[in-house]
Amino acid sequence: MVEPQAQVLDNIAVHGTTDRSDERSLIRAAQRGDADAFEQLVRSYDQNVLRMALNLLHSPEDARDVYQEAFLRVYRNLPKFRFDCSFSTWLYRIVANLCLDQIRKRKVRKEEASAIDTDGGEVDRFQFLPERRADVDPQRQLMSSEVNTRIREVLERLTPRERLVFEMRHFQGMRLRAIGEALGVTEEAAKNCLFRATQKMRAALGDFV
């Protein structure tokens, strides 16, 4: 125990202290070496980063690697960050590149990431994620797995860049301009990419939903 108990308990209500704090101030504080500020910065984005990596890679292990590498790169290079773009654009650029690298590596290795062998035959690796308890409700499990399977099949057919743009726009809610900046392409190019992705999704899911 480091601190007297009473003093510690006085400070239980530590949350909500940065509700109004400005991200720029947090970044500057983190640049000065403030570990708390860095951690808060991470926590503002890390759920979305992990979700994006999981949705794109369908592998908790790979998503974990992307998470660690992305935030480590941010940590190492934050002192050089000069606010030339928004922090989120910079972060998503790192995450997008790491995800693209993973997808390309898989193609080279011809790794079948979504299926693993078990005693009971080949099963979907994604089912091992501790998701919301679809497994205890057979009806929900069936519907969920059918739709999920179809979506995953369609997503697998998209090019890595199309998948990335679709994920960023549909699931992360990013604007096309920001997606373009993160991927180093024009807004128009990002829009074309989204257009192609949605055409493919529509064609594949049209009769299913």
Partner: protein
Amino acid sequence: MTCHQVQTNLSVYLYGELDFALEEQLEEHLDTCSLCQLALAREKQWHTSLNTTRTDVPLDLLSDCRRELRRLIASPENKAEPRFSWRARISGWLRPIGFSGWSTRLAAASFLVFVGFTGGRWLDHDGGLGSIAGGATEMSLVSPATLRIRDIQPAQNDRVRIIVDRVEQQQVEGSLSDDVVRRLLLAAAKDPTDPGIRVDSVDLLKSQTGNDVRDALLFSVEHDPNAAVRLKALEGLRQYTADPVTREGLAVVLERDSDPGVRSEAIDVLVPANGQFDFSPGLAGTLESILRSERESDYVRMRCMQALQEMNGPGSVY
């Protein structure tokens, strides 16, 4: 705009990414074309079904990632590069003109002496930084991680009064039975800002016993907005199923929780599949009520019926 043009642009339209002129043309067309209205409805439908299949971030994985990141950052090889290194910069300037090793250090020392001498004379001359000393210019004071400005009030004579809440980081280490640790965990289980913290706290609390722990778990089960936290709390409540307060809470969850997965877990906690539950008089009424209210999950209905049959012996019909 033709039907084909409208229908190919529907997704981008739904994302709100069409430019203003195109959006107007598309909406004008939609107003008059029932075929395209139908296409829009289908487009919305597949967008919505995509959203429902979206995976929640597994909070255990998130917690692991955060812990691992903290560990990696603390390791010496990952220390961030200093933002601004005068030494490196001066060395960089001097290297091309033949300074290196001791000569660089000597040159740097001379430079610093020069800066100190000149700076001192300048400060003596016109007050220099003294003119702003004592003002609120120390940016390090305003660390957003530890300070929150609660209020700013104008005062007399061009002065201002700023009310600042300051939070100091402290480390608390102790066993789970330690009162302070326990109370911190109980508070963290209700932390509205971070589901990762809540799930970690609930995960630790579920191995503990006591009414305070039970109440915290019930609070999480009934009020936490995150389904993963609610599920974790339900795991912890397994040890309290004989307790009437817990049963009451579980009945509330079964009647009100919007997530069928949580309801399925709740019925398993209330009436475990192995049949080892107390046949208390109130339980049958609760199960009958759930059976009537449950419309979505066949699993919950099936488990209620099984439990009621077990209570009443074979042959009973519900």
